[in-house]
Amino acid sequence: MAETGTVLKVKDLEAWYGESHILHGMSFEIPRGEVVTLLGRNGAGKTTTMRCIMGMVGKRLGSIAFEGTETIKMRSDKIARLGVGYVPEERGIFASLNVIENLELPPVIKPGGMTRDEVFDLFPRLRERRNSQGTKLSGGEQQMLAIARILRTGAKFLLLDEPTEGLAPVIVQQIGEIIRDLKAKGFTILLVEQNFHFASTVADRHYVVEHGHVVEMMRNEEIGSNMEKLQEYLGV
């Protein structure tokens, strides 16, 4: 596998939930080693795009190529095993599993993931609560757990859907450091963020999504000069 190039290439992606047509020709690319965000208003289709990449939306058309492999028709467990780690927007912590079981649920798919102890060093709070039922954790702790559990798997491409939502500022900062650290280690990350300020401290480029397709791409350094346009897109 080349060390440069494109990790993910989405082209003309269309998606439906039942009868409702949600994505209308999404196209974007994620270069290797970059942190890329999807920005957009509520309901623009950011989560749906991530679920499509993960193979979790029933009806999808177009092309999603991961490391050159077409995955548009692939089952989600196969996609995960190509090396994609997913933190869902709703966190997806399991009530019938304790913290350790939640942490170790996703199978290790590639070498190079963190060990349980490394994860606990990163999130000491989780070590303290290791035997608690997953959903007895606070919202912030659950978010940490959702992130922690994909760091074990060895996946080098991560989908983080609003990872800072509901977290205290100090934890948000810590997540920012983790993302920068992962980037330095060569991870490629697709991030959905409402916290635009946070996004601009970790990302290399931003795609603005509106009504199920990409309307604009900005490199992070262009953000300053495009502030007005961006605020209009995001309705802030």
Partner: protein
Amino acid sequence: MFELIGIPPQAFYAQLTLGLVNGAFYAVLSLGLAVIFGLLNVINFTHGAQYMMGAFAGYILLTLFGVPYWGALILAPIIVGAIGIVIERTMLRHLYHLDHLYGLLLTFGLVLVIEGLFRQQYGVSGRPYPNPLPGGQNLGFMFLPNYRLWVIVASVVVCFATWYLIEQTRLGSYLRAAVERPDLVQAFGINVPVMVTLTYGFGVALAGFAGVLAAPIQVVSPMMGMNIIIVVFAVVVIGGMGSILGAIITGYFLGLVEGLTRVFYPEASSTVIFVIMAIVLLIRPQGLFGKAK
């Protein structure tokens, strides 16, 4: 004490053991139903027929192939479980996204087909199966037949092993997680459809196991499943659908209650479970161990 209530102690203990033996079957059968319902969301009406198939598998293995009881105890559940896997792959699979009712209708239809086939082949009168553990223990206060003791021990071991597998192991944590969010578990790289198939096969194999276990004490007959499964469904309703431990405990408990009723008020022994079911439904509709939706 026994003099006071006018019941001979022998009869009392005999009914208590019989109750425990029945409870052993209720526990294994409702456990299988609970495992299947948890992951597949299907109420497996075929469970009774699969129990009957287990008994017949034991009978056929013995009479046609000379496989003794102990071999059948391993082989019959595998055979019945494998047939279950075929049913899951070819039929049940297509119903998961539909209402419970469809799964119930399909599995009920399968009961009619399977029992019809066996009735045509073997008639309605039962076949005897030799007792592999004749004799018994004289405990002083009662005589305990060896085979009854074995049934209770075997069922406790199987129930405990199943509980342990699901609640305490890594494989079990996959299963528990998939009960909650199959889509997400699959998005972590676990092949959930295969897990569903194997879970159905396992639940059905439990029914097959109970069938072999029952063969020496009940006549092996095409109707044996119908008779017990009605009671087992009442047990499941009382315990609450989908709770592993609840299914086990309720199974033994209701077997005992039935046995005690046979001592004190024999007229009610065949209805007591249904009376309890009605009361539980009134007071706690989700069942004793079920979680409210």
